[in-house]
């Protein structure tokens, strides 16, 4: 049954390649956004620490 599911009536390669590209794209987009937020916070923490040390 699992074999039939992946075979998808002979269209498996088309379907799974589409879903694979889609999954990769949405995960990458989410991870990039999340890393951007983390980087922004870390940059501000660094600036804040420098200012605190200077004062």
């Amino acid at each position: 049954m699992l074999k039939d599911f992946f075979y998808m009536g002979g269209y498996g390669s088309f379907i799974w390649s589409s879903y694979g590209i889609w999954l990769f794209a949405i995960l990458l987009n989410y991870i990039v956004a999340h890393l951007k937020e983390k980087k922004a916070i870390n940059n501000i923490i660094t600036i804040y620490k420098h200012k605190k040390n200077d004062s």
Partner: protein, 248 residues
């Protein structure tokens, strides 16, 4: 009512409200994806003409819808930023672009892969496909323009003009299947009539559309939050957030 809406034009208010909204949208997105993918890939029956290859619809169609929706949102928020100089509108407009470009690319690539077994070709210079490709170029042009200027506010204004001019492409994409003789099939859902798709195929499509929408809101809010922090890094409310993070 305007006073209620206007308070969220404040970067601080927007930041505060975006945290719970993005959390709940993220959870809803995951749930909708699970339900949509299971019902679409397992429960929905095969199409009588296309067989199982129709299941690409569950990522192709929501991607195409989102590519149009996000562009309209990008243009409107760009216009609001241009007219009323609202920082939040500019931030939202700028942060729509990457996800919009991604969905446009996905609509094109999944459509192309679907086209091979159905039409015998990965690509044809069909009205719908060509206008969607132009939409991708508009997104890429907008993103490049944002990077070209050092001053973000000038970049936002230039981008808003491009986005508003490109808005003409949206009805062209939508009505292309009616105005021209195309290979691409006509509307089955977004028309002034009952949907011509079987309900067992329609329900997973609606779940996937909801999943894509909540995904977009989640990512948009995450991206916008990081830009708000950069803009407002010297304000007292950002300092309080940083102090809280340092204590943790």
């Amino acid at each position: 009512m305007w006073k209620y809406i206007h308070q969220y034009a404040s970067p601080r208010k927007f930041y505060e409200i975006s945290l719970p909204i993005s959390k709940w949208c993220g959870i809803s997105c995951c749930l909708f994806f699970i339900i949509g993918l299971y019902s679409g890939l397992v429960m929905a029956p095969a199409d009588y003409q296309q067989g199982d290859s129709f299941r690409i619809i569950y990522i192709h169609v929501p991607s195409a819808w989102m590519s149009l929706f996000i562009y309209v949102l990008m243009a409107i928020s760009g216009g609001v930023g241009l007219i009323w100089h609202t920082k939040i509108a500019e931030i939202v407009s700028r942060n729509c672009a990457h996800t919009g470009a991604m969905f446009t690319f996905l609509a094109l690539i999944t459509g192309s892969i679907w086209g091979k077994p159905m039409w015998g070709a990965y690509w044809v210079w069909d009205a719908r496909l060509t206008s969607e490709l132009i939409l991708l170029f508009l997104y890429l042009g907008y993103i490049s323009l944002q990077s070209a200027f050092e001053d973000r506010r000038i970049a936002a204004r230039a981008g808003a003009i491009i986005a508003l001019v490109g808005l003409i492409n949206i009805p062209i994409i939508h009505f292309s299947v009616e105005w021209w003789s195309t290979l691409h099939q006509g509307p089955t859902i977004t028309k002034f009539d009952a949907p011509s798709i079987d309900v067992r195929m329609l329900i997973p499509l609606l779940f996937m559309t909801a999943a894509f929408k909540t995904y977009f809101i989640t990512v948009l809010l995450i991206r916008s939050r990081s830009e708000i922090l950069e803009y407002e890094c010297n304000s007292s409310w950002v300092k309080k957030i940083i102090e809280k993070k340092l204590k943790c």
